[in-house]
Symmetry: C2
Subunit: 214 residues, 2 copies
């Protein structure tokens, strides 16, 4: 074991006040590909119409997303999906009516990062909720709190910590790229990564990463 | 009881995945004042010299700060201290060698928000660590992670959630103002509030605030 610790140099450890996450080198994982997931080719206007129809039928849209960390160059990196060389996203998606957050996240992780929805890989270990983002309307602006004047939120995205085992096979649809991006690159970089991703370093800041050598 | 809930409108509650914080109206609390705390009137250069001497003597500087929320206009507000109409700060300060984070935070809260260090008010209920900020050198830039090239951090500030009882007396030194600032004003407002305060909405985003009526 090696790497950063929260132990202050004056010997006053206080380990109880922060949590430790074991993370493993990127090289511990296998990355392969599978057939494309059918992309939603729609205009922004069509998307808003679809959101409105969904809202009328099912109420607020519930989304979930996974923060998955690996070690590279002695620094935590997050696994992000990139579609068509454009938007970076956390793995995740929208939950079905009646589906729990955890069930949904496991289903989405299997379909986007594993063999399939009924993937034969190890179970996904979904940990605590790190944060929530709210949309008061069908536009793209999010808030990390319920805005004071928001009566009926249109979307809530919950961010969960997902812990990786010491090894695992990732199988990613061909139309996505799976990237390992350093925390230091996400921080304060909303322009490139958007609101949710640029805020992840804050959400993880209470943790001490323990870099496990395989 | 009233106010925002994390219960999605489709009846899929998932309450287990997020935590609830009870907060009380600002009007439940009494605010008084006491004699000034002697301010450190020093130049930035003198401050850096003092930091360096402290570092050589005691190692990394450990600081703690408290996030204390109240309800106003059906929105969470944080209690912040303002000194001399300038910097806004979370209540807190630097721990003494050998002092635990929790002990230090209770001492600082008593000296800055209560009758004295051995204040006769109710105990402070210090909750979980929400985040940590690191300084790689004696300058003022902070990071919500350990920067990859940081060998010997100079300062670590831990942010703790502090839960208020339904009523309490706050007694604040005359040279400070205690303000209740809405979360929505802190968010994305580093220019006015600095890195730590503008990031608090992220750190609290996993919580659902329950506005308790007295």
């Amino acid at each position: 074991m090696d790497g950063p610790r929260a132990v202050p140099e004056n010997g006053n450890s206080n380990r109880s006040s922060s949590s430790v996450i074991d993370i493993y080198p990127l090289s511990c994982y296998y990355f392969g590909s599978k057939g494309s997931i059918c992309p939603k080719n729609e205009t922004i206007a069509d998307r808003v119409l679809r959101m409105k129809a969904d809202y009328d039928a099912h109420g607020m849209r519930n989304c979930v997303a996974a923060v998955i960390a690996v070690e590279l160059f002695k620094h935590p990196h997050l696994l992000l999906l990139q579609e068509q060389n454009s938007i970076y996203k956390l793995p995740g998606g929208r939950s079905r009516p009646g589906e729990s957050d955890i069930e949904c996240l496991k289903r989405k992780l299997s379909s986007k990062l594993s063999v399939g929805e009924h993937g034969r890989g190890p179970e996904w270990e979904v940990g605590e909720c790190l944060g929530m983002w709210w949309k008061p309307d069908f536009e793209s602006v999010l808030y990390p709190y319920r805005p004071p004047n928001m009566k009926r939120p249109k979307e809530c995205t919950k961010i969960f910590l997902v812990k990786l085992p010491p090894s695992r096979r990732f199988i990613v649809p061909k139309n996505f790229r799976l990237l390992a991006i350093p925390l230091s690159q996400l921080y304060d970089n909303e322009e490139t990564y958007g609101q949710i991703l640029s805020g992840i370093p804050h959400l993880l800041s209470k943790f001490t990463f323990n870099f496990v050598e395989p």
